[in-house]
């Protein structure tokens, strides 16, 4: 291994509960965390350390994920209480702007499109919803897509285009495109043998990483579709297997450095680096750094700081958040 992860700080974020997710704001100055204690916490830097700036309560049940709008002024939270809450930043605090209802049961993920005008949510009710935001902060559901046969665990937007990807308990990944204000599934990526927990595009959006309960990470790449028909063609160009001891819950591709981080149920955080010399249709990734006991319990999420290269946040079932910095291994 060429590099090492060094611990920057450990935060007891959601005591007596689990921390499900952390998310950096676009400028990398704040991050939000959420968990089983039904709370959202906002963390900011003070001197050398990160401290809790505010605690947001609104949801009746677990808050599963949080997402910042591209402008950094809004925060969306997805909860098991079947709602998605939109928060607006007011000075140093956040106020609940609106509550999006519609899903039949647990909302598992929420994501903003790069334009900031669209929002996607997904749920155990097997559907993915796309919402449109207008100038008056009004949200309107434009499409409900039912392309999965089981819970939808995760949604993520392409970094530049209006392209949406979703991951599901049905082991598949779906990719959607807008067709006359109607979102349709244009590609189904099959390959994982169990639940796909999370997805991450690389900085350019040409490739998509997925992680799964089958203990692998797969990298998918878009190819031009010769058959036309408007469908998209994504192929698996790499499978990382043998590294993870249990379910891989999250994968994060750093847009700045190209490093790929994973969060795993074996308590470890791992960082992979791409071998740039390899055949672009058969990528090679190698393990660059790992912390086997990054947390004392399952690691649920990894998130790269979008501005500061190599700063990584992770969180765990024990309610903790850890901040890591990747460095050249001195030994």
């Amino acid at each position: 291994m060429k590099e090492a992860l060094s611990l920057v700080q450990r935060l007891s974020a959601h005591p007596d509960s689990r921390c499900w997710f952390v998310s950096w704001n676009p400028t990398g100055t704040l991050f939000a965390s959420c968990g089983g204690d039904k709370a959202i916490r906002i963390w900011g830097r003070e001197g050398d350390s990160w401290i809790c700036k505010s605690v947001l309560h609104q949801h009746q049940r677990t808050v599963r994920k949080v997402a910042w709008s591209p402008c950094g002024n809004y925060l969306a939270s997805a909860s098991f209480d079947a709602t998605t809450c939109i928060w607006k930043k007011k000075n140093d605090d956040f106020e609940s702007l609106t509550v999006l209802e519609g899903h039949e049961n647990e909302v598992k993920c929420v994501a903003w499109a790069p334009s900031g005008n669209l929002l996607a949510t997904c749920s155990r009710d097997k559907s993915v919803w796309v919402w449109e935001v207008d100038e008056e902060d009004e949200y309107e559901c434009v499409t409900v897509v039912n392309s999965h046969t089981q819970d939808v665990k995760h949604v993520v937007w392409h970094p530049t285009q209006e392209l949406l990807a979703s991951a599901s308990y049905d082991n598949n990944i779906c990719i959607y495109k807008d067709e006359d204000d109607d979102w349709e599934c244009r590609a189904t990526l099959q390959g994982h043998t169990s639940t796909v927990w999370s997805l991450s595009f690389d900085g350019t959006g040409q490739r998509l990483a997925s992680c799964s309960d089958d203990r692998t990470v797969k990298i998918w790449k878009e190819y031009p579709n010769e058959s036309g028909e408007g469908d998209l063609l994504w192929k698996c160009v790499c499978t990382l297997s043998g590294y993870h001891g249990r379910t891989v819950y999250d994968v994060a591709w750093c847009p700045l450095t190209g490093a790929l981080a994973t969060a795993c149920g074996d308590d470890a955080v791992r960082v992979f680096k791409e071998d740039e010399s390899a055949n672009p249709d058969q990528l090679v990734f190698s393990l660059a750094a790992q912390v086997t006991k990054a947390h004392s319990q399952d690691v649920n999420c990894v998130a790269w700081n979008p501005q500061e290269p190599g700063l990584l946040a992770s969180c765990s079932d024990n309610g903790e958040i850890a901040l890591w910095r990747i460095q050249e291994d001195s030994t």
């Binding site: 689990r18 089983g36 049940r61 677990t62 599963r64 098991f80 049961n105 647990e106 598992k108 155990r124 819970d151 665990k153 308990y169 169990s194 639940t195 309960d213 249990r246 379910t247 149920g265 074996d266 004392s296 319990q297 399952d298 079932d317 024990n318």
Partner: protein, 159 residues
């Protein structure tokens, strides 16, 4: 169970309960470290109440000590349980009760896997997948009516 509904398996086979674990001298010795072993895990789950019958999972042979594997050093526990009939609709609930009992009773360093004894249930794969999905388990335990049933399975029977 209500009087109106009929049990799926009204007359299941009953098995004998194992006796209490015998106390050994080393267990009373302050200085000896007693590892967590299969029997200890089995003792945690054998008295779980069946959701339908006034019987424990042990008496219905749903759990057996030979189907419990623990590795204290590596912090892993795996339990296989056997539904009384292959189409038992209570399988997920029973699995959930076992999982919750272990989550509440074991140090949090443990990775706990609960699944159906291979070949003993028609929906084995689906049930196993659900039990392994911690997000679903967490959501289920926030559902108060489901939690109520699980808690009843885990209570010392009183009424």
């Amino acid at each position: 169970m209500s009087g109106g509904t009929r049990l799926e398996n009204a007359n299941p086979v009953i098995f004998q309960r194992s006796g209490e674990r015998l106390l050994t001298a080393s267990e009373e010795d302050e200085d000896v470290h007693d590892p967590i072993d299969d029997r200890e895990i089995f003792d945690l789950i054998r008295s779980i109440n069946d959701p339908e019958h006034p019987l424990s999972l042990e008496e219905l042979n749903v759990v057996e000590q030979v189907r419990v594997k623990v590795n204290d050093a590596e912090s892993t526990v795996s339990v296989e349980f056997t539904p009384t009939i292959p189409h038992c609709s209570m399988a997920t609930l029973i699995g959930l009760s076992i999982k919750v009992k272990l989550l509440r009773s074991l140090p949090d360093r443990f990775k706990i896997d609960v699944c159906i004894t291979p070949g003993t249930h028609t929906s084995e794969v689906a049930v196993n997948k659900q039990l392994a999905d911690k997000e679903r388990v967490a959501a289920a335990l926030e559902n108060s009516s489901l939690l109520e049933v699980v808690n009843q399975c885990l209570s010392t029977r009183s009424i």
